[in-house]
């Protein structure tokens, strides 16, 4: 049952001088790119920039006119193309599920072709459905009975069926409406951790790129313009085009003029007035939150989190004095202070009453 | 292969004229009846499924069987041949006319109504012209059917090019069969080709862009 994948783990994927022309048009122009094993690399650029074509040279759906692609140091031309593709997962924008097959048959097709038994297929399909957050009884449904978002999750499950170490994704959320897209992006972030594999992800949406990617490679007119970590791109854009793309200048200006009140999160759901530890515990469990802001007669008393609460004998012990800001404080200095004290949370107070919360990672996400 | 001999002994010139004459009459009748029927069904869409079902069943009847069944009614010769041709050819024309008229894009109809055309004017000035390419496609099919049935007419004394073919088979004469057979084939291809050109022209002029 163990599939002989061509490679167990990806160390590197190297595109050397890859060039592809269609008649007079050069789709990909001498691109050199190295993808590090285990990372999620984003390929981003306007339409016609060659990002999809470049992606497809990796699983040889496109054969370059010049240049070579290496996986773990071996030229992919050496491999049998079908074996190569079975060792690589592939997800496309239009999803491409087979309409005449059930969800189970769609996901399990490759497994069946590789000779897995019915039970093994069954088990694996259920595992995969679980991973992409779809109910098990979807196995007998047909694609046309699923929504766009559900279909794309099945598409992802199908790509992961054989457990490939490398995943290629071509604007997978592109065909979905913005709300659904955000939702799937969140979920994908969660899955990304669980999967822990090398992913090359094409998109034209810079926000998606910053949200999901480890490194980002920017393409234009078939050329690779810049590749690097998000903050490198923001701080050191290679040219006007990149700067515009990542909104570098805008972001900086933004940071200077923002106030705490611009980015604070609503505190309502974290406020509680209690005396005892067990009351608080129960309340936090009911609300499914990890930390709480304790008040007395409306005024801020302190904050605590689940961990501290469980370790302490009573509420007094668990209470901590939080960092306190006022709404008009500069955001930049507030964040700096939080960083210094290593606090993940700050309470925004007006006349001793809590009016908002500043959460470090929320802020960053919102900025980007 | 003595083409000249076959041509003369079998009187192919005459036969060709007979053949084309029957073809012309049959086709003309089919087009008129077919288009009118399509129009009528467009007006009464409820009848469409029944009408098309009946016509569909008629289409499956073996050609020769239909021909001979008409004999008691129309005796031998041209009449049953033309009648059978028309019966076969109505369906493609009527069906295409109906589909052509009903499936004109909503936007065109809405614009026409918006600028103030009456239902009848919409039909004449918008639906019908836009349906022409499809109708032409149906007529093309009818051309092929009609040629086929008229050729068979030779078996029931209708004359036409079917007669020398029959003679050729009975006499087991290779030359007659090949010359006449190829000649009929060529005629059929030419007529089909002409119909195709007309269809193409109409499609360019009135077709969806």
């Amino acid at each position: 049952m163990v599939i002989e994948m061509l490679f167990r783990r990806i160390e590197t994927v190297e595109l050397r001088d890859v060039t592809k022309r269609y008649g007079d048009f050069t789709a990909v122009d001498h691109v050199n790119l190295e993808i590090i094993g285990g990372e999620l690399l984003i390929l981003i650029g306007p339409s016609g920039s060659g990002k999809t074509t470049l992606l497809r040279t990796i699983n040889r759906l496109v054969e370059p006119d010049e240049g070579e692609v290496f996986i773990n140091g071996r030229n992919i031309k050496e491999f049998d193309v079908v074996k190569l593709r079975r060792s690589i997962g592939y997800v496309i924008q239009q999803i491409g599920l087979f309409p005449h097959m059930t969800v189970k048959d769609n996901i399990g097709l490759l497994l069946k072709l590789e000779g897995w038994s019915e039970e093994e297929i069954d088990k694996r399909v259920k595992e995969l459905l679980h991973l992409v957050a779809l109910p098990e009884d979807f196995v007998t449904r047909y694609p046309h009975q699923l929504s766009g978002g559900q279909q794309q999750r099945v598409g992802l499950a199908r790509a992961l069926a054989l457990n490939p170490p490398l995943l290629l994704m071509d604007e997978p959320f592109g065909a979905l409406d913005p709300i659904l897209r955000k939702q799937l992006q969140e979920e994908f972030l969660r899955i990304k951790e669980v999967l822990g594999r090398t992913i090359v992800f094409v998109t034209h949406d810079i926000e998606e790129a910053f949200k999901l990617g480890d490194r980002i490679a920017i393409m234009r007119d078939g050329r690779l313009v810049q590749v690097g970590y998000p903050d490198e791109l923001v701080l050191n854009p290679a040219d006007e085009f990149v700067a515009k793309l990542v909104n570098a200048d805008k972001k900086f200006k933004h940071l200077d003029t923002l106030k705490v009140k611009d980015l604070m999160v609503d505190v309502e759901k974290y406020i509680v007035e209690v005396q005892r530890k067990d009351e608080l515990l129960q309340w936090m469990r009911d609300k499914n939150i990890e930390f709480a802001v304790i008040v007395e007669k409306g005024a801020l008393k302190g904050v605590t989190d689940l961990k501290s609460l469980l370790k302490s004998q009573d509420l007094e012990e668990a209470l901590m004095e939080p960092l306190v800001f006022s709404p008009g404080d500069s955001l930049a200095s507030a964040l700096a202070e939080m960083k210094r004290r290593n606090a993940f949370l700050g309470v925004v107070v007006e006349r001793e009453k809590p009016v908002g919360i500043l959460l470090a990672n929320e802020v960053l996400l919102k900025l980007l | 292969m003595d083409i000249r001999w076959v041509w003369e002994s079998q009187n192919l010139a005459q036969r060709t004229l007979e053949h084309l004459r029957m073809f012309g009459i049959a086709l003309a009748l089919s087009v008129v009846i077919g288009v009118l029927l399509g129009l009528y069904l467009y007006r009464r869409p409820k009848l469409a499924p029944i009408a098309f079902n009946v016509l569909n069943i008629l289409e499956t009847v073996p050609t020769l069987a239909l021909l001979v069944l008409l004999l008691p009614l129309l005796s031998l010769g041209e009449k049953p041949t033309i009648a059978a041709s028309v019966i076969y050819s109505i369906l493609p024309i009527a069906r295409n006319t109906y589909t052509g008229l009903t499936s004109v894009e909503r936007s065109y109809i809405e614009v026409a109504k918006a600028i103030g055309l009456s239902e009848r004017e919409v039909l004449l000035k918008v639906r019908f012209p836009l349906a022409l390419p499809l109708i032409a496609a149906g007529v093309r099919i009818a051309v092929v059917f009609t040629m086929g049935v008229v050729t068979l007419g030779g078996l029931i004394a209708a004359g036409g090019l079917g007669a020398p073919i029959q003679t050729g088979i009975h006499l087991y004469d290779r030359d007659i069969i090949i010359v006449t057979g190829l000649w009929v084939g060529a005629l059929a291809l030419i007529l089909d080709g002409v119909a195709a050109l007309i269809e193409r022209y109409l499609r360019d002029r009135y077709g969806r862009r």
């Binding site: 759906l61 592939y90 496309i92 239009q94 309409p99 290629l168 | 499956t60 008229v150 073919i165 290779r174």
Partner: protein
């Protein structure tokens, strides 16, 4: 009156004639359609040829077989085969080839071989078109099988021709009615089969 044995015998011959030819044209037609997938040039050649031949009157086709193969059962089968072949090839090819490109791309991308793609993606998509083609071919075969009596194939056509020659209405009817019933039967049974075989999710094809 025509003897029942005679009619049954003729009907039997007719069935063999029709279905033998049909079977042959399916056996040749479907592989030809699959082959046409390989090259666009081959495809347009085959389709072009198919369209051309279909325009030629059946009677001419049946006749031309005679100088080539003589008279009798086999030449008749060949004539019917020729006629029935083309709708099958054309419909099957269209069904196989007009699959959504994105689906083929996905199929290739996840690692299916070309043959696996034909088997698991193109074929199921092609069922409706294929069936329509076979149905059309069957009706055609049934019709021409009457005609081929004139080149010595026996079958129901013999009854019809004999009846024609001797102005014997009984014989004419004995020959035509079963043929007509057969045609209706083919139409209905194929439509039914088509619904049964079309996989859910393909729908209108």
């Amino acid at each position: 009156m025509v003897g029942v044995e005679r009619v049954l015998g003729a009907f039997g011959e007719h069935l063999v004639l029709t279905y033998a030819s049909l079977f042959l044209s399916i056996a040749v037609g479907i592989p030809l359609a699959i082959l046409s997938l390989k090259s666009k040039r081959l495809a347009s050649f085959i389709m072009g040829f198919a369209n051309l031949v279909q325009a030629i009157p059946s009677f001419a086709v049946v006749a031309i077989v005679v100088p080539l193969l003589g008279i009798g059962f086999t030449p008749a089968v060949f004539a019917i085969f020729l006629r029935a072949l083309l709708p099958i090839v054309k419909n099957t090819y269209v069904g196989l080839s007009e699959v959504d490109e994105a689906m083929i791309d996905a199929a290739r991308g996840i690692g299916l071989t070309e043959w696996e793609i034909i088997r698991y993606v193109r074929f199921p998509h092609a069922y409706p078109a294929m069936f329509a083609g076979i149905k059309f071919a069957a009706v055609l075969a049934n019709s021409i099988a009457i005609l081929t009596a004139i080149i010595g194939s026996e079958g129901l056509g013999s009854l019809v021709f004999e009846g024609l020659a001797s102005f014997n209405t009984d014989k004419i009817l004995a020959g035509s009615i079963p043929a007509i019933l057969m045609a209706v039967f083919i139409d209905i049974s194929f439509s039914y089969l088509e619904k049964r075989v079309t996989p859910e999710g393909i729908g209108g094809g």
